[in-house]
Symmetry: C2
Subunit: 285 residues, 2 copies
């Protein structure tokens, strides 16, 4: 596995691969990799000849008071995981390599898409995400890019960006990967104490509850999110940020659930903000 | 010369060229081509194996009340000019091909760069320019892109965009091309009546005056722009929008002129808004 720290290293290697007619997949990550990331790499290896994983904690998507400084990092462990899963190149730049001078040009979705759900409390987050993903797209010039469905709002906004800016890149969304007890994989799970870790299970239980209600024929978004909220509120360490039902493409609030809608939540467990979601399938929940 | 109307046609053709190891140059235009555009095509042909010219009047860079509807168009004439200058492919999409759905994702420079000079009266112009140029970059994926120095503010903002968004594209700025009597080539010159056409010469005369003052050793920006303004004001049909001296990279106002600074103006001649500029060379003016 090639370890690249500079943009020019990546460009040169990708150029060589393209000259050989090989397809390239990109998995953008912020590192501290877990089985969720591994599943993205696996899918990229299945679909592409060469796989590049970017491992970069991007400062422009963190707001003031968020966890930029404390965000967990372990590049050695990341490399071991990536090598084991067949990644061909990891791109691990310094901040100064990605932002060589004060940035002025941003990629931003100016509709309501980045203002709902997580955007209510993270106003600049998706502008930072769109900007750094655009940069990674321009550096790696992949044929396909792989994103987790756990960050469902991010995935919808990236898909819209690809359409709006005519990127010639196929976006592949990959299913949420969970621990055996149901907790969605997240680098931020490492922040949880033992007791918080137990109570954090309420997110996946709420997902299951929502799916069961839909499977029973309930399609009223308010009723479903209310029952999910009631379940979460039972946990003393849980504080709901939001539990919402939205159209899966436009992210506009929905009242009657249909296939493809997104039921998403953000919940603080102690000081740690966790997210989870599911996409509605009216036959199965 | 290939005439492409669709994004997929362009992508397929460029893919073929790249497979053959050929370099690709892009000249983005809004059509109604003149010798200024031709000089960009000539330079692209000199520097690249294959040259793509986009010919598209981009609605997102026109504000309300601007000349989107009346902007001159003559695709047949454009094709004749392009063919004569060795262009390999012209990309001439409908608006619906470039904007398949309501656009929400824009590329925008949020610094003061797009707020000065032309941006004072055209607040959304450079957001539209950055967005459509990003789209064209993503569709054509050129090695180099060629822009005229007549649109000096645009060129500076595009250069900044390429740095900020890590586009792997070299930006080539090409000198202003003038009519024999000095008037800078512009598609909008076609709006001018015979009398306006005469009085429009005051822009290039102001350029010459500014250069002469600098050649004589005057470096005070205020003095130079004041004399230029006084000259322009002598023309009864001329109404100054701005005459300004700014740093050529940051576009920040400058008081003492140095090499690389930009002295730029926008002047209404009757109802037609014309621009002109020069880059300071303290040895030559």
């Amino acid at each position: 596995m090639i370890k690249a720290n500079t943009v020019s290293q990546v460009r040169e290697q990708v150029k060589k691969w393209k000259k050989e007619g090989l397809s390239v997949g990109l998995v953008p990550t912020m590192g501290y990799l877990h089985k969720g990331h591994a599943s993205l790499v696996d899918e990229a290896v299945r679909q592409c000849d060469k796989v590049v994983v970017s491992d970069f904690v991007n400062p422009t998507q963190f707001g003031p008071g968020e966890d930029l400084e404390t965000y967990p990092r372990d590049f050695e462990h990341d490399c071991a995981l990536l090598e084991a899963h067949g990644c061909h190149m990891v791109f691990h730049p310094d901040v100064s390599e990605m932002y060589t001078e004060e940035i002025a040009t941003y990629v931003e979705n100016i509709s309501d898409m980045p203002k709902t759900l997580c955007g209510k409390t993270r106003p600049i987050h998706f502008r930072g995400v769109c900007t750094v993903v655009s940069k990674l797209f321009n550096i790696v010039t992949p044929d396909k890019a792989f994103f987790g469905m756990k960050d469902a709002q991010q995935l919808a906004i990236i898909r819209k960006m690809v359409t709006d800016l005519s990127f010639g890149i196929e976006i592949v969304g990959c299913p949420i990967v969970r621990e055996d007890d149901g907790l969605a994989m997240s680098s931020r799970n490492t922040y949880l104490s033992a007791e918080e870790r137990k109570q954090a299970l309420v997110l996946s239980r709420a997902v299951k509850l929502g799916q069961e209600l839909i499977a029973k024929g309930e399609h009223d978004a308010d009723k479903i999110t209310s029952e999910m909220k009631a379940l979460i509120t039972e946990m003393p360490l849980a504080k709901i940020d939001y539990v919402s039902a939205v159209d899966g493409t436009s992210l506009k609030d929905t009242k009657t659930l249909k296939n493809g809608d997104l039921v998403a939540m953000a919940v603080y467990i102690g000081k740690t903000r966790l997210i989870d979601n599911f996409t509605v399938n009216c036959d199965k929940g």
